[in-house]
């Protein structure tokens, strides 16, 4: 059974850089394509909240953690290859048939 926000992501970035924006934009695009309406996204800037990076033991930015569904997954990088990112985050196939990796139903 799947609730309203069955997908939960936490994205760590460093500062307001092009790379940070790129990562956030790519992640949103992925979510809209694969799990529209079923996700929550939190963006954390480690410069403002280093203690949050500490808690999740983040080294590299951007890093996205898929918190739900469990088991969690971590993907490092700006997600510039959307198809690969979808596979890495184990997202379901899109409505129009673009492949994701999951067999989520």
């Amino acid at each position: 059974m799947v609730g309203i926000s069955s997908y939960r992501f936490r994205l760590f970035v460093t500062g307001e850089t092009g790379r940070s924006r790129q990562a956030a934009d790519n992640l949103r695009e992925l979510c809209e394509a694969h799990v529209a309406g079923f996700y929550q996204l939190e963006v954390i800037d480690v410069l403002d909240h280093p203690e949050r990076a500490e808690e999740d033991r983040i080294i590299a930015t951007p890093t996205v953690i898929r918190l739900d569904p469990v088991p969690p997954k971590r993907v490092i990088g700006d997600l510039s290859d959307l198809e690969l990112a979808a596979i890495a985050l184990d997202l379901p196939d899109t409505q129009d048939g673009t492949k994701g990796a999951g067999d989520w139903t």
Binding site: V13, E54, A60, I76, D78, S80
Partner: protein, 501 residues
């Protein structure tokens, strides 16, 4: 930032002996790379760098671990005598845990940087006001991200950030083999101007750990490999070679040798801070001379340590009593400490550290060591040289009058390995030799070298009886009676640049 523009000042590590070879310490507020093979002591080095900072200088530290768990590190620290847990509670030590979260590798999609790592280190440094940071080890980062060029660039940025934070940092890195490249991936060129190399090699079945300052960008340091050992409850102890030439002062005070004729031959005895070698073949009276030296120490109310590597305690005491010296009675006064050890029970480095500890604890004015040649058995040529130099240096710093015996390889004299190493370091050299004189074998003693003063250079005859050693008249009218010893004499007398005799 650093004082004096481009010239970094130094931050003493507090690790025994290390600051001496680095001429003061690590370049302050700079990163230094510590490279070594597995088991080379890199992590111990890093833990100790922070621990000594806290213990000796009240400088808080941040330990960034990429590989070992913080639990394992606390435990390793505890076995070395570092109370990391307590320091964490007091806000003097912070771990930045950058070890992998799961066994499964993180996937990488697209470009990234180490911004979070820098932010976490910066946060930890600011939180406790850290002066020292250790990153252990960079190799684990390469293994994890598998993209050497990105990792190299990002580590360079980390190093720059550490500099900007004004902390003195150590970055450890694995080395594939002892004498190959400094690190697997040429990190050192990018990350740090300063490189230390730890080595751990087997040589003739003896393990030898050394540390070398490979470069301090443009800064002076002592070159070469320096022995070190890792002591339980203490950590790394570097055995520094003698810095005799730089010794600020030399004592003018004389102390008795225990034999009044020998005192006269030395123009009044040994200098207070001198290291004197007594060289002679088996049975020539070295142990007797040692016993008299020890007895004289007690007679003048001085404290003395006698280290014997040749005989058992019982044998030592029996010998001494046959010359009328009661070592047991002297020991009971609390002024004398006798330690008898078989050389084979420990490595040379461990002997050195043990001797140093005994001497530091007992705080004697005199030390007698009988016999250095016995220690040669457990060492390689290089090892014994470093040992002797380190020992002499240590004894001199403590202004301890030292008598060290050495056995010649043949009955009629001749050089020994030990002597050729120590000849230039010793302040005094006394030769005991068998002499062929008028168709008899007699004994002759000569003071070959004695620092800073005129001394009697005649070869005097001596005898040994149950009252000790009696020095008599010169052998007159003969030349070449040192016969076989002439070559070694020349070598000893003119053997080195620091010969002041």
């Amino acid at each position: 930032m650093s004082a004096g523009g481009n010239v970094p000042h130094r931050l003493p590590t507090g690790i025994a002996g290390l600051d001496q070879i680095m001429l003061g310490g690590l370049p302050a507020e700079r990163p230094t790379l510590v490279s070594g093979t597995a088991g080379g002591g890199k992590t111990v080095f890093g833990l100790q760098f922070l621990s000594e900072g806290i213990r000796q200088f009240s400088e808080p530290g941040v330990f960034v671990t990429f590989e070992e768990s913080t639990g394992d590190l606390r435990q390793s620290g505890a076995s070395l005598g570092f109370g990391i847990q307590g320091w964490e509670d007091e806000g003097l030590w912070v771990f930045v845990d950058a070890a992998p979260v799961a066994i499964e590798d993180d996937m990488v999609v697209g470009s990234y940087d180490f911004g979070a790592l820098v932010a976490r280190i910066d946060h930890a440094v600011k939180r406790i006001g850290a002066k020292r940071v250790c990153l252990d080890s960079l190799g684990a980062v390469y293994d994890r991200f598998r993209d050497p060029s990105t990792v190299r660039l990002e580590l360079f940025k980390v190093a720059s950030a550490l500099k900007a934070m004004g902390v003195t940092s150590l970055l450890t890195v694995e080395r594939p083999e002892e004498f190959g490249p400094i690190s697997r991936l040429g990190v050192e060129e990018f990350v740090a101007d300063n490189v230390l190399v730890l080595r751990n090699v087997l040589e003739r079945e003896k393990r030898r750990r050394t540390i070398e300052v490979l470069k301090f960008r443009g800064q002076p340091h002592r070159s070469g490999e320096w022995l070190f050992t890792i002591v339980d409850g203490e950590g790394i102890v570097v055995i520094p070679l003698s810095l005799m030439a730089l010794r600020p002062h030399a004592s003018e005070e004389r102390v008795t040798t225990g034999n009044h004729v020998l005192d006269r031959m030395c123009s009044g005895g040994f200098y207070r801070d001198s290291v004197v070698i007594v060289s002679g073949p088996t049975g020539s009276g070295k142990t007797l001379m040692t016993s008299e030296f020890v007895a004289a120490s007690a007679a003048s109310g001085e404290r003395c340590v006698l280290l014997s590597f040749e005989e058992s305690l019982e044998q030592l005491m029996r010998n001494a009593s046959s010359w009328g010296i009661d070592l047991a009675a002297l020991e009971r006064t609390g002024k004398l400490k006798i330690i008898c050890e078989y050389p084979e029970v420990a490595s040379l480095e461990d002997h050195f550290v043990a001797m140093k500890e005994v001497i530091e604890e007992f705080d004697p004015q005199r030390v007698a060591i009988d016999n250095l040649s016995a220690l040669e058995r457990i060492s390689t040529g290089r090892g014994i040289r470093d040992f002797i130099i380190g020992l002499a240096s240590f004894l001199k710093q403590g202004e301890i009058t030292s008598l060290i015996t050495s056995t010649t390889t043949t009955l009629l004299g001749g050089p020994s390995v030990t002597e050729s190493h120590i000849s230039t370091l010793a302040d005094g050299i006394i030769l005991l030799r068998y002499v062929e004189y008028q168709s008899e074998v007699r004994r002759g003693v000569v003071v070959l070298k004695m620092r800073g003063a005129a001394h009697d250079k005649q070869i005097l005859e001596y005898t040994i009886d149950d009252h000790g050693l009696h020095i008599g008249e010169p052998f007159h009218g003969l030349s070449g009676i040192l016969g076989l010893t002439r070559s070694v004499s020349a070598e000893l007398e003119f053997g080195g640049p620091s010969n002041l005799g």
